[in-house]
């Protein structure tokens, strides 16, 4: 199967709710509103595949060209024509170069099950609506070519750590991917994709040179030439060794799919197929990526105190992804906290957003649905190298002039900073209520943080949108309004106590250690009011923003308990 010559292999969600298999050139068809992949990690993989394809086949000179395609999406035949010169690099089987596989047939390697292409257990954790419906679980012995292609691509671009000689992906093992998405469920697949396409000049890293993408360029598609084997030192692949677009097409793993003609149904998508993949061959020592890679779809983090060290891609967190990570995913701060959002996110916030707004003011019919944007964050949940699941989380993006971003970042850091402190005090006091000595408390308490952050999630983004509105009105403001600060503080306090009560007080009453439980709750109250020794963060927040730590309307009957 060739992935670009019109084969109908890409699962698409149609406007009427049905799923149709279509060629990639149909991605701009107005009736295609999303992808409908059989696994959540494939969904994100397929987005990255299409984005890579667009960047490669339709190089953009500038944002003006970007805007043209946003307002008027290309017709399928236009895309088909643009893909044609690349076809030879997108052959999934055959004797020549195979898409993302080793040029060598790997005859010296034992065959293994095709399930080796899957990164374990997506579907176990958070999955966005629409996608989990398609997730099938259980043994995977046979895949159709479409699923095998998606599995292969997803593995190559995410490749988690696998052991000695098994190379991780270009962005490190299991990186996060952040994409800008329209809020509206009605948006077309094209709009979803196009928001994440960059002018070519923005893809060029230091030491790289832009050349017209060609299917026979071994610096772009490694698989059309002998594998860059990494069994020796000095064989590392650095950004300056490759084409700027290679970031989208990295191949750290060596695989060959064994495709056989056989009537069978696919264990992932359930479709009947004539050609099936049951076995693959895999080998160690694939391309070993090293150096200052900055993948356009991934947020990075650097240590401002160690400017010589390489930026690290941001990863999924065992305690979940929540709004506390949001500033690092959307607000550029390489010198302060060291966070560097993905190039596509920054380009959207700093350029595309403005451009779209201006056009709309000029009367251009840029659809209203492109007003509200979300950030779609996905990646594997890796816990000490083990894959536990797949994250797919969405958070709002805010519309904000570049000039106010520093202030917003500072404010948001104050909000999340306070939330972190309150979360950790809550966790500690729940621990204190549960365990005789804190040192005994080795259990995984990250669940508490997860619950706390999820309970305050909506309030956080509500607060951020209030702050943004104020910055849009009065750009010169530098002090967070007291009432907004206070309402955030009150939300945190309320949720902290609710979580504590739920976790520490609601067990069987007769088994309760009341002394520990009530002491811990009193400690937590002391912390939250800014009165206890350890609660400097709360005290500072209250005095910095100049509000009273209580609300008029709040009824709190039990804070007065104890000796009068």
């Amino acid at each position: 199967m060739n992935l670009l010559n019109g084969a109908r292999w890409l699962p698409c969600l149609m406007r009427d709710g049905s799923v149709e298999y279509r060629p990639p050139a149909d991605m701009a068809h107005p009736d295609v509103i999303n992808l409908a992949c059989p696994r959540a990690d494939f969904q994100a993989g397929a987005y990255q595949f299409l984005l890579g394809l667009l960047q490669t086949a339709l190089p953009l000179a500038d944002h003006g060209e970007w805007l043209d395609y946003l307002i008027e999406p290309p017709r399928p035949d236009t895309l088909q024509k643009a893909f044609a010169p690349l076809e030879s690099a997108f052959e999934l089987d055959g004797d020549g170069p195979r898409f993302m596989q080793d040029l060598d047939p790997l005859d010296d390697v034992k065959d293994t099950s095709v399930s080796a292409l899957l990164i374990d257990s997506p579907g176990a954790s958070t999955i966005t609506k629409n996608i989990d419906l398609f997730v099938k679980r259980g043994r995977v012995d046979a895949m159709c070519e479409a699923c095998a292609a998606l599995a292969l691509f997803t593995m190559q671009v995410n490749a988690p750590a696998g052991g000695a000689g098994i190379r991780v992906g270009l962005r490190g093992g299991g990186p996060l991917t952040t994409l800008v998405m329209p809020e509206s469920a009605d948006a077309t697949l094209w709009q979803r994709l196009w928001l994440n396409v960059l002018p070519s000049s923005r893809l060029v890293q230091q030491g790289q040179r832009w050349t017209e993408p060609r299917s026979d360029d071994p610096d772009l598609f490694f698989w059309i030439a002998d594998t860059r084997i990494s069994d020796k030192k000095g064989t590392e692949v650095l950004p300056e060794h490759v084409h700027p677009l290679h970031a989208y097409w990295s191949v750290p793993r060596r695989f060959r799919l064994l495709i056989e003609p056989d009537k069978c149904s696919c264990d992932l998508c359930g479709r009947e197929t004539d050609r099936i993949v049951r076995q693959v061959r895999g080998k160690k020592q694939g391309a070993n990526y090293d150096g200052p890679w900055q993948h356009p779809l991934t947020p990075y983090r650097r240590d401002p105190k160690k400017p010589a060290e390489l930026p690290l891609s941001q990863k999924g967190q065992p305690s979940g992804l929540g709004y506390r990570h949001w500033p690092g995913l959307v607000l550029n701060d390489p010198e302060g906290s060291g966070t560097m959002p993905a190039a596509v996110v920054l380009d959207y916030i700093n350029h595309k957003q403005k451009l779209v707004d201006e056009e709309r003011r000029w009367g251009e019919d840029v659809q209203a649905l492109l007003k509200q944007m979300r950030l779609w964050i996905s990646g594997y949940d890796l816990d000490k190298g083990k894959t536990r699941g797949w994250y797919s989380v969405e958070m709002p993006l805010v519309e904000l002039p570049e000039s106010s971003q520093d202030i917003l970042r500072e404010w948001v850091q104050q909000l999340t900073g306070l939330a972190q402190q309150v979360a950790s005090a809550t966790r500690n006091q729940i621990k204190a209520a549960w365990f005789k000595r804190l040192a005994d408390a080795k259990g995984d308490m990250s669940q508490v943080d997860k619950q706390f952050f999820s309970a305050t999630h909506d309030a956080f983004f509500h607060t951020v949108s209030r702050l943004t509105a104020i910055l849009q009105e009065k750009a010169e403001t530098t002090v967070m309004p007291a009432d907004i600060a206070q309402s955030w503080y009150l939300v945190l306090r309320r949720e902290a106590l609710a979580l504590f009560d739920d976790q520490a007080l609601s067990g069987a009453q007769e088994n309760m250690n009341w002394q520990r439980a009530t002491d811990a709750r009193r400690q937590l109250q002391g912390f939250l009011s800014g009165r206890s020794k350890g609660s400097k963060a709360v005290k500072d927040f209250i005095s910095q923003h100049g509000f009273a730590p209580t609300a008029q309307t709040e009824k709190s009957p039990l804070t007065q308990g104890g000796a009068a």
């Binding site: 007080l505 009453q509 039990l558 104890g562 000796a563």
Partner: protein, 220 residues
């Protein structure tokens, strides 16, 4: 029966102030007002009572008869209980669960009869956790835990009467004391608050250990 005239009603409000009202988990404002007025007429000397209300005190023997009762059933037949019952709001005395109401309020009457002087606002358990001359809480932790695990109304009354004796029958609020009994009854009849901080165990323990916390750390 209620002697409270129209003119007194604004004063009635202040019988239980806001702060105290907020601290109650199981009594309504009307019930709390009834409890305080009744206890004042039952326990205070005519001189003390005169400063608080124009209503007359109950004869000394009324309280004595109540204190001699060993069981809630016996208390039901006393004049003291009848006086209390008549002060209670309609919603209480005309409740469909009249049997349970009668038993609950007879327990409240029995326990309150042991209180000689009150400190409005102060909780029973906070008083029990207070430091005695021995340096330890007035009521030991072990005995306090027994209050938390009472299984029958008789046991509850017995333990609370004992607690009041230890506490010198003073320095706590009659209203909050009645609230403790009412709260216990609520859970005894299977109705447990969804909010853990509004449950019998937590409320008492929070007051007791809260009071003890102010001096306890010096021992350890």
């Amino acid at each position: 029966m209620s002697e409270a005239s129209e003119a007194d009603s604004s004063q009635e409000w202040l019988v239980v102030d806001d702060q105290e009202l907020k601290s109650l988990a199981a009594l309504s404002l009307d019930e709390a007002v009834a409890v305080r007025r009744w206890w004042q007429r039952l326990a205070l000397s005519p001189v003390e009572l005169k400063q608080l209300t124009p209503q007359p005190g109950l004869p000394r023997g009324v309280r004595a008869a109540l204190r001699r009762c060993d069981t809630p059933d016996a208390a039901l037949l006393t004049q003291a209980f009848r006086e209390l019952w008549h002060l209670l709001p309609e919603a209480t005395v005309e409740s469909p669960f009249i049997e349970a109401q009668l038993e609950k309020w007879s327990c409240i009457a029995l326990v309150l009869a042991e209180l000689r002087n009150e400190t409005p606002g102060k909780a029973l358990a906070a008083r029990l956790g207070q430091q005695a001359s021995t340096g330890k809480p007035i009521m030991s932790e072990l005995r306090f835990q027994q209050i938390l695990t009472c299984r029958t109304p008789e046991e509850l009354v017995q333990r609370l009467r004992r607690a009041l004796a230890l506490a010198g029958r003073s320095e706590m609020s009659a209203v909050r004391l009645a609230d403790v009994v009412a709260l216990w009854w609520r859970e005894y009849s299977g109705e447990i608050s969804a909010r853990p901080t509004h449950r019998f165990g937590f409320m008492l323990a929070n007051d007791y250990f809260g009071a003890a916390a102010s001096y306890r750390h010096e021992d350890t």
